[in-house]
Amino acid sequence: MSRGEERGEERGDEREARSPLQPSDRVTSVPPSGIRRFFELAEEMDDVISLGVGEPDFSAPWAAREAAIASLEQGRTSYTANRGTRELREEIAAHVTKYGQEYDPDEEILVTAGASEAIDAAFRALVNPGDTVAIAEPAYVSYEPGVRFAGGDPLSVPTRAEDEFVLTPEVLYEHGADEADLLVYCYPNNPTGATMDREEITAVAEFCIENDVGVLADEIYAALTYSGDHASIATVDGMRERTVVFNGFSKAYAMTGLRLGYAMAPAEVIKAMNRVHQYTMLSAPTTAQYAAVEALRSCDDEVAEMRRQYDRRRNFVLSRFEEMGIDCFEATGAFYVFPESPWPDAGEFAEALLQEEGVAVVPGDAFGAGGAGHLRASYATGLGELREAMARIERFVD
């Protein structure tokens, strides 16, 4: 048998064993989300009060919705510029000056279909196969798969409860992040509700400069900071050129379903991200862009009111956990608290709580290392339901 025939037989064997629509190794190497099981369990049950929801219970401000409706009535249903409408990019540039961020709307801002798309585009634009991306955990569940989809190697950097889940140079060195190419983190944090002040951010910035690490800073919860002002690492000296900032309209403006986010970074980075974006998304949803312009122009009062409501609920939930004797550090941002699990295995506790009392909270390890032994409870739910949920949790742990 000739060598060519041998190869042909081998190929034939492979074809029999492998469907042409077999999912790629890259995709199958990523495990399903740790919250899927809870989602399925919760969906099967009646009378569940879910504190597992990671989105506002408010609707987008009416003025923003009206702008979206008006844009449809006017027939504005075409693609926009890949980077988003100039009007929106200008509004974003003006808006982020409140965090001390200065970006050129022409070159340094990219409007995306949710901050999630911006994060994915950044991974694909910046990560080479084999690059290491350090992830401050516990973290939003999409970072690690995003890194893997881009061919990179995620490196878990678990923050510690004793540090109030703040990222420190010590913990970065401890886990070898000084060898990483990029660092991705989210503050105010999902799932812990932790925030970082300027001093803490500066310490991480110094680490990144010293070790030549780029930063992907997810600031989607920036508007939901309850003590002090939001501090962005991109505003620390020497960091602007090595940072991509993500933000969006989902959390602050309760526009999750409109899918609109943005990235801000030096022109070359935005250009590279836009290359990914233009071949996958073309442009962010047009209707949502009109809503977003109006949101930025005229909805500060609604955002302030939503933040006030979240703050009250946060106080309420923290106080109730304290009354139950459940340790819970004081979350100062986003709309989550991250109490310690009353049982050693948070997954078992969450499942039993769901099945016996019909309250859904998410085990902390679903968000990666550093989350083990904790539970994420969202307070983006009306106070009446929160009160009932906390009463049920109290009954369950008694």
Partner: protein
């Protein structure tokens, strides 16, 4: 926002919040929260607590009417005098002096249309200073005291999300 304003806003949102809940939400201790509520009541800022009722959900739906009143004042009679006289009737749910085409806006409630009509024609219209009444019967209520009356409050969000 100061403590009184914060408590007042919460009570307007839901007058049935317990003192413990008010304390938890504002970060006050319970004694402080209770004292603030008492202070608001004593100062006459909080005048009472009532349920906002969607009468269409109730078996015996009362008849409600909005009544416009025009008055002519003389040297001895003030708006306050007229208001005091009308406000004492139990049929009157609210009474406000307003600017515009008429002087007083009156909310009237009774068991039947006949009762409302008789009340307006026999008790209100004969007041000497009142020169005109216009009665608008309320046909349906969609929002009252800041609360929207609809039944579409199902939470359609995913029960667990990232």
């Amino acid at each position: 926002m100061d403590e009184r304003a914060e408590i007042l806003e919460l009570l307007r949102e839901n007058a049935r919040y317990s003192v413990a809940d008010l304390a938890r939400m504002t970060g006050l201790d319970e004694e402080e929260a209770a004292a603030t509520v008492e202070e608001l009541e004593a100062d006459g800022v909080v005048r009472g607590y009532q349920a906002v009722v969607d009468w269409s959900q109730w078996t015996a739906e009362p008849v409600q009417a909005h009544v416009e009143l025009n008055v002519t004042l003389d040297r001895e009679t003030s708006y306050r005098d007229i208001a005091d006289r009308i406000a004492k009737f139990s049929e009157v749910r609210s009474l406000r002096l307003v600017s515009g085409d008429y002087d007083f806006a009156l909310e009237v409630e009774a068991d039947t249309m006949g009762e409302v009509s008789r009340f307006v024609s026999e008790k209100v219209a004969p007041v000497p200073e009142i020169t005109q009444t216009v009665t608008h019967y309320i046909m349906d209520t969609y929002k009252d005291d800041g609360i929207v009356f609809d039944d579409e409050d199902d939470d359609e969000r995913l029960s667990v999300t990232p």
